[in-house]
Structures are given as structure tokens and as C-alpha cells.
Amino acid sequence: MPHISARLTWNEEIGPGHHLMAAHAPQIAAAARPGQFLHVRVGPTHDPLLRRPFSVLRVDEASGQVWLLVKVVGRGTRLLAGMAPGAVLDVMGPLGCGFPEPPPGEEVALVAGGCGVAPLIFWADRIQTTFSHIRVVSILGAATEDVMVCWLDLAARSDEFYATTEDGSAGERGLASDALRGLLARRNFAAVYACGPRGMLKVCAELARGAGVPCFVAVEEAMACGVGACLGCVVPAAGGGYLRVCSDGPVFAAEALDWEALAT
């Protein structure tokens, strides 16, 4: 978990407000596991003050590059997305736990909502290289076609790929979780891995439980420290109490979380 200066090498707007960015950070590229995140300073002054967490989308160990997908939602992501290649990023990472190894079985389902595609691309890639006996079935949901970014990166690393949009502008009309519902009814997944909005995660968790399939979700929550010290980023745990997204997660077994309390 180094704390380093990484030179930005790529910044491309690949969809409205969606930036694909790369930084030269060989230590991180070598160490990162799918599901982990980087904690990034977005400006040189005291405002904005806190770092911003972003999932690792992909690493290129040979060139020492780490790729991120940044969606502009507020001032921090706006500043980051405005940085030009050559700029130096202050990065901590990789942080948090990654996706757990697939349980025995033939195929797994990856369900991505919007920007949640980032860690699942990395995960699909890793499954294909490290657990090559396992088939990857991916679903990517987005609101509309133009914000369905990186779908090719996910599709290229999947054995089967499904896309959904809420308005039907690409793929099936509907939600990623609708597609999962259909697949779970017909198929026998060893595990479901999901990353996206909380509502989607909740439905995925419910569907997987109904089908008796282990489900792992990557969760987002506002962070301060990113290393487990401040107790700021918690989500409610199933047995009561709280878990830290930054260090107990961001990937959790669905049954570890109290979905009732989480949804509110």
C-alpha cells in the first residue's frame, strides 16, 4: 500500500463526463488486485481537502500503468478529469480487499452498473488469466447508450456479455439486475460479483440468495482516511455494528451486510 507520486499518462473523455485515465505507477500496477481501489488527491490546496477513491480498472504490469475510469459527479472528480497528461497525481494504494477467489464451479456472473464496470473489467481479466477454467458471464447496465462506457473492455474479457440500458438505446431495455434474474433462472453460477448503485447491489444480493449462489458486492461510501483509521466509511453489518468499506471492503460477501439498514 504505497503512497506515491504518479505521472498521469492518459486522459480521454470516452463518454459524456466519463474519463479513462492512466498513471505511471509500477508498484501499484504490480500489487493491485481486482476490487481494490486507489485513494487520490484531486488538488494541491486545502479545498477540496479529502482524497477520492477510485477502483482500479486495469493494470499493465509491463508498462507500469494503472487505469481508472472517472465519472464526473462533483468538484473533486471535475478537478481530476481536468488534469492533463504529465500532471503528477498523489496516490495511495492499492487499498482495501479485492474480490475473493471464485468458489469451485464452471462459470461466474459479473454484474456492473454504470461506473461499477471498472473493477469488474480488472476482475474478468484476472479470472481469464488466473482461473482460466472458469467462464465469465458479464452484464453491464447503464442509463443510456452514450454513458455505457468501457463495454468493449468488459465484453472482450467475458465469455458471454449482455448489455442493458434503461431506455433501450443499447442492448436490452431494462436493468442489469433484470438480466441477472433471467440468467440465474437458467444457469448455475459459482458466484455473482456485482458493482454499481446500491439499489442494484441489493437486488443482485436478493436474487443470488434466492438462487443459492454466493454473491460478492463492491460498495461505495464517502471516505476520509482510506486505511481503516477514521471509521468514517462504514456500512451496517449483518450481525449489528459496522464494517469499514475502505479496509473491511470495499468487496463484501452479500450476507455480511445489513441490506435493510444499508438501503436507507
Partner: protein, 311 residues
């Protein structure tokens, strides 16, 4: 400028009342966990002491999320004293810190005087606790410390009781959410405190205008970070002017020069809090920068800074 040829080394040791520390730079309670999380980033050996997250008698779950929100040059938190409780603290958290040779100051919080007294008694009996910091100001738990820290008489009663329960150096951490900090500082010192920590967080709030909801589940939270530094400096200076007590100054310290400002205002030592989140090397970096600052100013002993403001 560190290690610049020909310049003498700076003596960084300080005394905070009865407490002798190898460096004036501590960490703010609740911003450094129990030390372990920052060990990979921060040279803990450069720190004067590690101040723990507040410990309570029984384990506490803390508040529901969202617990933090960023504000302009600051942040709000409403952690709600989540901690494993005294027993597990003594069994699991304290021993590794002590084994690593760190000076450990334990921050305590309670619902009533009795809880504080029990906590102080138990820490007095434990091995390796250098001092107790009494948190009388955590604004997040409805039945929590805030009332203690707002009324000089109530505060005096609490401090007197805790004083009776331990011979360890006793630091009282005051709340800044008061009309006049001086009578509270005086009450704590008269009741037997050895030193004062100034300041805890300012009570604040943030709103999501589109959702029409508070940003924190707890509605209000404590404001920390560079935004509050001017208020913190002012309070340290007011208390120093009035009473000259041993003070641990904190509130928005990000650099060694910030630390020097607090010492000039009257602090014998300082604590780095929110800065740890921004830069995980902050605490040791601030210590190194403070040393450099002293060297650049031809100061041989860092404690010469304390109260050195010329008004």
C-alpha cells in the same frame, strides 16, 4: 534544510506538564485509530506520543452512516465513539503499541462521571499508559460528553473525580463550542488537570439541498481541518494569556509551520488530526518540518517557541 552543514541539531523533546515527550508532535485522538493503520506510511518513531481513539467502558457501535462529509477546507464527522471498549482495548490494542515502544496517551469518554472514573482507574492499573486524555467535548453522542465541557462547575466536578482515580498525567480536552474557553480551562486546571488539549471539533452541519436531507445521518457533526485553524489558534492563545497552563494545541495543523504557530500561541505540544487523512505521512512530516523550521530560525530547543508570540 534538514541536516544542513554547520547547523546544530534541534532538541525536539518537550515537557507537557509532568509528561516528558521525545517530540512535540502528537496525533489527534480519533484520527489515527490505534496507531496500526498508519504504521506503513508514517514514521511513528518521530511522534511525541500516539493518542488513541476514544475508549469507552463498554464497546460502542457508533453512529449509522453517512458519518463524514467534506466541507470547504474541512470535514464533518459524526463517528459516535465507535470503539471496542475498555476490555478489548487493554487486551488487544494497547499491548502492541506498548511493545513497539510508543508513548501512549489514552483518550477516554463516558456517559457519566462514574464511567470516566472506572476508565481512569483501569488505565492507571494498566501497563504502558503514559497519560489519560479526558474527552469532555465529543459533540456526537446525545448523552455524551458535551455537557461536561460546557459548564465550568460540571467540568470541575468531573475532572476532580477522575483526578482521584489515577496518578497518571491527566489531560483535559476542551470543547471549542463555548462562549469563553478561559473559565473552562481554569476549572479543569483547578480540579487537578496537568494539561489541556485545545481544541476538539466545532459543531457543524451540512445539507444536501436537492434531497433536502442532512449529509450526516446524525444531522450534526464535528468540524475539523484547516477551516478551523484560526479558531483553534485563538483559543490556545486566550488560554495561554490567561493561565499559562501546559497546552496541547490542535485544529487544522497541516505543516510544521502550522505547528510552530500553535506553539508560539502558547502550546507546549501539538496534535495532527485531519491532516493524516489527507496525507498519511502528515504526523511525521509535520515533526520533520517543525524541526527544519527551528533550524532555519536558529532555535536550539523547540520548546523555546512556546508562548513566543510578540503582541
Amino acid at each position: 534544510m534538514r541536516g544542513e552543514a554547520g547547523l546544530p541539531p534541534v532538541d525536539m523533546s518537550v515537557k507537557v506538564g509532568p509528561l516528558a515527550l521525545p517530540s512535540p508532535v502528537l496525533v489527534g485522538s480519533g484520527t489515527f485509530g490505534f496507531g496500526e493503520e498508519y504504521a506503513p506510511y508514517c514514521d511513528l518513531a518521530r511522534l511525541g506520543a500516539i493518542v488513541t481513539k476514544a475508549v469507552t467502558l463498554r464497546p460502542r457501535e457508533g453512529n449509522p452512516g453517512p458519518r463524514i462529509w467534506e466541507t470547504a477546507a474541512g470535514m464533518l464527522n459524526a463517528i459516535g465513539l465507535q470503539n471496542p471498549g475498555l476490555e478489548r482495548f487493554l487486551a488487544e490494542k494497547l499491548p502492541p503499541l506498548v511493545a513497539a515502544g510508543h508513548v501512549v496517551i489514552v483518550n477516554i469518554a463516558g456517559h457519566d462521571v462514574e464511567e470516566y472514573v472506572k476508565l481512569a482507574g483501569a488505565l492507571d492499573a494498566a501497563k504502558g499508559v503514559a497519560a489519560i486524555e479526558v474527552n469532555v467535548s465529543c459533540p456526537n453522542v446525545s448523552r455524551g460528553g458535551i455537557e461536561f465541557g460546557r459548564d465550568p462547575a460540571v467540568l470541575g466536578e468531573l475532572v476532580r473525580a477522575v483526578r482521584g482515580a489515577t496518578r497518571l498525567p491527566l489531560i483535559v480536552k476542551l470543547s471549542p463550542n463555548v462562549s469563553d474557553i478561559v473559565p473552562l480551562a481554569a476549572a479543569a486546571m483547578e480540579a487537578g488537570a496537568d494539561a489541556l488539549s485545545l481544541i476538539n471539533t466545532l459543531l457543524g452541519m451540512a445539507i444536501d439541498a436537492r434531497q433536502r436531507r442532512p449529509r450526516l445521518a446524525n444531522v450534526t457533526g464535528g468540524l475539523s481541518g484547516p477551516a478551523i485553524k484560526p479558531v483553534a489558534l485563538r483559543m490556545v492563545w486566550q488560554v495561554w494569556q490567561a493561565l499559562r497552563p501546559p497546552i496541547i494545541g490542535m485544529g487544522g495543523i497541516m505543516t510544521g509551520e502550522d505547528a510552530a504557530e500553535f506553539m508560539l500561541a502558547g502550546a507546549a505540544a501539538v496534535a495532527v488530526g485531519t491532516a493524516n487523512f489527507v496525507d498519511p505521512t502528515s504526523a511525521s512530516r509535520v515533526a520533520a518540518e517543525l524541526e527544519d523550521f527551528c533550524r532555519g530560525q536558529r532555535i536550539n530547543h523547540v520548546s523555546e517557541l512556546t508562548g513566543g508570540l510578540q503582541v
